[in-house]
Amino acid sequence: MDAISLSSIRLTINEKKILDNLTVSIPQGNAVTIMGPNGAGKTTLLRVASGLVRPTSGEIHLFGKKFDKNQRLLGYIPQNLGLVGELDVFTNVMMGALRRMPRWRAITGTYTKDTISEAYSLMYDLKISHLKDTKVKKLSGGEKQRVAIARTLIQKPSIILADEMTASLDFKAAVTVMDIFTEIKEKMGITLLMTHHNPEIAKMYSDNVLILINGKIEKNIPSKEITKETAEHLYET
């Protein structure tokens, strides 16, 4: 079954076509990377898929049902991760569970034992338990990525949309983060739609790669077919 399918998505802003008749389906449990030059529409595509931007036309279905924000199926890791630097790691992680808590608990910060133990277990899996009381602004790039992943996973999403989540990391750090993330993702059966600049990362951690140019999907190919030359050609475009 397709976890997410986008049909004939068009987005026009000030008469400029940002996304142009875009159709794509991702089977449950798959990982797909969107690659393309700057300004191709990668981030916009993820923002449309997440419901942050309403497309001019077209439809989005999650597990066969028309997209509804209340379905709580989506997790989203934005380009700059969207963490709150002035709050500690634990609070940032708990923010992902806000939707599942009664409002008064969310406002007063009195979390249930179950949610706290879920957060601890995720922080343990992502190797950030020792940082739980540290302000996020004091963390390294790799540590911040892990906090963003933990915040998304505590939502218990079926689909995660991740925008350049390893952008600020060197290759080694990116692999470490992606290894941990992929292990958890597979354990939880999560479908992943992400953007990456690094073709190696795309090849290692996705089933398919979508090549997006000028708001159109030019190619949808198995990730193993991505070569260094393809990527170089892509970013010269």
Partner: protein
């Protein structure tokens, strides 16, 4: 060579300033021309009459208390008001209404608020405190909603996808991210309020200004001098202390 648009603008500004001065009959040289008066006033001011020492102390304490209470009330009220005025948090009709309210509070100077409030609540520090509160609420609210609106968009995006309510976003993103700025701002507003409180007495709204105007009007310059000196010293001290504290906050 033909003057540029930039040069034309400056020429126009200078002409407007000269025109306004002529219109108002403003003559900067009059301060030198009437040196006789200036010398007499300065001489009398320098004859400090310290028999008013106790009054200086108590009126100074009253002024500081007015500034502390007024700026604190105004600052605390400005936090939710700015949340309601921020376009990235509140619906557009709510933000428009609160921007208007904060604009009104800010555009009326504290002295004018004090005149209005003396009529409503009567003479004394209560009018002064309320005047400071209202003005600071407007001033601080305007600063704050601009801080809120310039915050990292991706944190808001993440919270929207999580499905957080506006109140949750304010509690977990907006306020925590603004906190370091708020500390700075409060200290600045406090020292600003001390300066403002010192003149509210001119219209009977409490504080040291009452004694200054009383002694100046009865030509007791020597008695007015210690009050003026006290205000000068406290204002400079407050400015120095708040700058130091703000620097410390920024480093943390």
């Amino acid at each position: 060579m033909k003057p540029s648009r930039f040069q034309y603008t400056w020429i126009a500004i200078v002409l407007i300033i000269i025109g306004s001065s002529i219109h108002l009959g403003f003559n900067p040289l009059s301060i030198i021309k009437d040196t006789g008066n200036s010398v007499v006033i300065v001489e009398e001011l320098l004859e400090f009459d310290f028999s008013v020492g106790e009054k200086v102390l108590w009126s100074l304490i009253e002024t500081l208390e007015m500034a502390l209470i007024g700026s604190s009330i105004g600052f605390v009220l400005s936090i939710p008001a700015a949340l309601l005025a921020a376009r990235n948090i509140s619906p557009s009709y709510v933000s428009a209404a609160f921007r208007g309210l904060l604009g009104i509070l800010w555009s009326i100077p504290p002295l004018l608020w004090a005149i209005l409030l003396v009529v409503i609540v009567g003479l004394g520090p209560t009018a002064g405190i309320l005047a400071i509160s209202l003005y600071i609420m407007g001033l601080s609210g305007k600063y704050l909603y601009e801080i809120y609106e310039s915050q990292n968009v991706s944190s808001y995006d993440a919270m929207h996808v999580i499905g957080a309510t506006r109140m949750q976003i304010a509690r977990f993103v907006t306020i925590p991210e603004a906190l370091p700025h708020m500390g700075n701002q409060y200290l600045f507003l406090l020292s600003y309020s001390v300066r403002e409180s010192s003149i509210l007495g001119l219209v009977g709204a409490g504080g040291i200004g009452f004694y200054i105007i009383h002694h100046l009007e009865s030509l007791n310059y020597g008695k007015a001098a210690p009050f003026i000196l006290a205000i000068l010293a406290v204002t400079l001290a407050m400015d120095y202390a708040s700058t130091k504290l703000r620097k410390k906050l920024v480093h943390n």
